[in-house]
Amino acid sequence: MFRNQYDTDVTTWSPAGRLFQVEYAMEAVKQGSAAIGLRSKTHVVLACVNKANSELSSHQKKIFKVDDHIGVAIAGLTADGRVLSRYMRSECINYSFTYESPLPVGRLVVQLADKAQVCTQRSWKRPYGVGLLVAGLDESGAHLYYNCPSGNYFEYQAFAIGSRSQAAKTYLERRFANFADSSRDDLIKDALIAVRETLQGETLKSSICTVAVVGVGEAFHVLDQDTVQQLIDAFEIVGEPEGPAAEPEPEPEPDAAAEEGTTADQGAAPDQGVAPMDI
């Protein structure tokens, strides 16, 4: 890549007006394993690829619950991600204690971004090498934000970060117009398909991916492996609109959502043939 005389310090500008250390930090995010987020009006889903180093070890935790209404998926230096998650949990719990109310997601994200910015302007610090997809719910609705090592943050309808995330982004770009009104289950299906896109032909199994959901009336939680495997099995079967029936959800599921899932499935089934594995 680029090696030059302006990249030693984060406090050194390049003549082109770039801070190379910050850009290298963003590179670290791109090297991490993929994390995907998408949202509807009422739910936000986070999914990520969790590969263990060897068969003997467990995989790294990439999704953290920050509060009942906020969760975060990370890509990059997981240690940095863990530390930032702890900061976020601390902020949420302090706000809850003082105001007996959940911290609005937008405010947490700004505090996080300001914290990251500090590390881009101190000679004795380095930028955090982790990108965070912050999923949360507050009074103003469902939100998905991406926090960058540079201290920037953006709100998204859907986004993917980490290695081979471009494949997921391409899929999401095609489908995101439908997300706002998607049911919870369709949103999870789309997230799983997006994860599959990043695997480049490898079979999607619940042992290598993690899915988490937060929604209206549903606290942020990570779905357990069995549920995820059932969901994967449900949509891998091409042309079968059996999706809702095959899911014994532990959470209460209104009948309307099941019907919606069926019709959406019938719409999605023809798409399955078109949905590319063409990376």
Partner: protein, 248 residues
């Protein structure tokens, strides 16, 4: 007065006195307001308080507004030490300012303000330097009505009707009997006036000049000061001392 009411700070002048330094914490209230009464009604909260601030047993100030609006969604009424009430208004001013500076569509509602005040009052109590007030916090946000109280020792609770000071003893029993869900504005005002009239007759520090404030989803309105109609023409008040030997 030997005692001062300066807020505790490390470089206070009293510290220079050495071993015999003066106390720098609130020990007694000096200028006080009396009861505040509030209830939930159909569209929001109604709150009433008179405009008196007493200096001991003297009715010293008679145009004190003891109810103020806080942000877009809340109304705060206070009894107790008026200077501490003004201090609390300064705290809340700053709180609302920072809330507005976020400029992000979120705003602190009555529940959040009430919780914040509880933390402030309780923390001051723990330092043995209380803000000598009983606060009533009411408001409406997103259609949800909220009415709560915080005392000077940090005791806080929510209810459909609250009162401070004498109001607890004289007004609450009336409200317990006559309050019901979905009172109209007129009925709510009549009920509050009934409570305030009893307080006027029986509370020595009450005066016949009160304001009624209402807060709804639309906002806060505080009425102009007005007086309640009273009746003193009881026959027992003519020659009250007849039969009391030695009295005049």
């Amino acid at each position: 007065m030997a005692t001062t009411m300066v807020k505790e700070n490390n470089a206070g002048p009293a510290q220079l006195l050495g071993p015999e330094s003066a106390s720098e914490r609130t020990l007694y209230p000096y200028v006080t307001g009396t009861s505040v009464v509030a209830l939930k009604y159909k569209d929001g909260i109604l709150m009433a308080a008179d405009m008196a601030a007493s200096y001991g047993s003297t009715l010293r100030y008679k145009s004190v507004e003891r109810m103020k609006s806080i942000g877009k969604h809340s109304l705060l009424g206070a009894s107790g030490e008026i200077s501490d009430f003004q201090e609390i208004l300064r705290y809340l001013d700053e709180l609302i300012l920072y809330d507005n500076m976020w400029d992000d569509g979120n705003s602190l509602g009555p529940k959040e303000v009430h919780s914040y005040l509880t933390r402030v009052m309780y923390n001051r109590r723990n330092k043995f330097n209380p803000l000598w007030n009983s606060l009533v916090l009411g408001g409406v946000k997103n259609g949800q009505k909220y009415l709560g109280m915080v005392s000077m020792i940090g005791v806080n609770f929510e209810d459909n009707h609250v009162a401070t000071g004498f109001g607890n003893h004289l007004a609450r029993p009336i409200l317990r009997d006559e309050w019901h869900e979905n009172l109209s504005f007129e009925d709510g005002v009549k009920l509050l006036e009934k409570c305030m009239r009893v307080l006027l007759y029986r509370d020595r520090s009450a005066i016949n000049k009160l304001q009624i404030a209402k807060i709804t989803e639309e906002g806060v309105t505080i009425s102009q000061p007005y007086a309640l109609k009273t009746f003193w023409g009881f026959s027992a008040f003519q020659n009250p001392t007849v039969g009391a030997e030695g009295s005049w």
